[in-house]
Symmetry: C2
Subunit: 224 residues, 2 copies
């Protein structure tokens, strides 16, 4: 069958690039990824950052809508305002816990906004014409999910270059968006810190701090 033969030839060629050594490196990358809050203040080369954003734009998107919008937040005033938005919400969130849990929450460092050399806000353009609505009539949230895939792609590409990423979700999204002066149709998906990490680890910081352990993959699986 010619189609089959052609598929196999093409696929063999591709799979040649992804051998056992590559797959071991990928497993290692996933094991050592981490959400980082402890950054060195040393700058990141801007060319490296734009290279990473180019890689992020290879992410899958519903209807090929590519709804990701990347905002590099360079202005020191805006960066300080975002840090204040985080600190306000973090203090509020601490009030939601009691006793030892609150003490543990307050002892953890949950963002690196004051140290990280790069602040990157990632938005979803909810009104993009790209993709012509394909694939999101009944599940419109897949547009924002596409942006999440771009963030995750960026995360892995960064880590493979030694660059750490921290995703800051302890923010009032309306307040953070107001600081950034973006089109009204853009919704905030993630506010990210990027930079060189203070340390590397193969265990999540929240697990090391005693907040939450990882479960066995089996416990997340059902058959139907």
């Amino acid at each position: 069958v010619p189609a089959e033969a052609s598929r196999n030839a093409g696929e063999e060629q591709r799979l040649g690039a992804w051998d056992d050594a590559f797959r071991a490196g990928l497993a290692d990358l996933l094991h050592w990824r981490r959400d980082v809050r402890r950054f060195r203040t040393a700058p990141l080369d801007r060319a490296l950052v734009t290279e990473l954003l180019g890689v992020a734009a290879l992410a899958p998107s519903v209807g090929n809508a590519q709804p990701w919008r990347f905002v590099l937040v360079d202005n020191p005033g805006r960066r300080a305002e975002i840090a204040a938005v985080f600190e306000r919400e973090n203090a509020e969130a601490a009030q939601g816990y009691e006793g030892e849990r609150r003490a543990l929450y307050c002892a953890m460092k949950l963002a690196g906004l004051r140290e990280a050399p790069v602040h990157l806000a990632v938005f979803c353009d909810e009104e993009t014409g790209r993709g012509a609505g394909l694939g999101r009539r009944t599940m419109p949230e897949t547009l924002r999910y596409s942006v999440v895939c771009a963030i995750h792609t960026l995360w892995l590409a960064a880590r493979a270059r030694g660059v750490a990423l921290g995703w800051v979700s302890i923010l009032d999204p309306a307040a953070a968006t107001a600081v950034l002066d973006v089109p009204a149709s853009w919704s905030l998906v993630g506010y990210l810190c990027l930079g060189w990490p203070e340390e590397v680890a193969d265990c999540p910081e929240l697990e090391r701090a005693g907040w939450e352990k990882r479960g066995s993959p089996d416990s997340f699986l059902l058959q139907r």
Copy 2:
């Protein structure tokens, strides 16, 4: 400074594993990933599938909540019902386009549910106690975003083994969820097909079909 010295030693060791060859392989993986709708019916080994789900569980999650719930849909009746849910919504969606656009929509193959050997429904447990709510007081959607990261991790790990994935979002999520008999606190994030692909390509099927092209990464970038 001892802390700095120890960081560098650890990081040097890690980065040794992710050399230029690895990064080239990763770039290649992202370029050749694809959302696949044309599967061969040949089975996937169940051990390979559970291995992939173990890798997916390495994904980042807000508060380390690990809210992903994987449902392997093996029952032929349920699989046929899901395919029917897709076909119903796909016919409805086609009515939203006119003229050439509708003809193009109808000519495209948008899911491989009848051929793919593996159906995997991925849910978010909205009421998980894991993570104790950390990081999602103001942005509760980050719980579902964590599940998206797990799906994207699965996608890359699968592709690196030659296994293709297709994300089917042309579904009424309530109807699909009802077919699968899962806890009421679980919300459907993605319904996936997995299997060996009919073909490989470095260009999205929607671009090849003339539906939507990829834009330049520069066009998605702002500075503030």
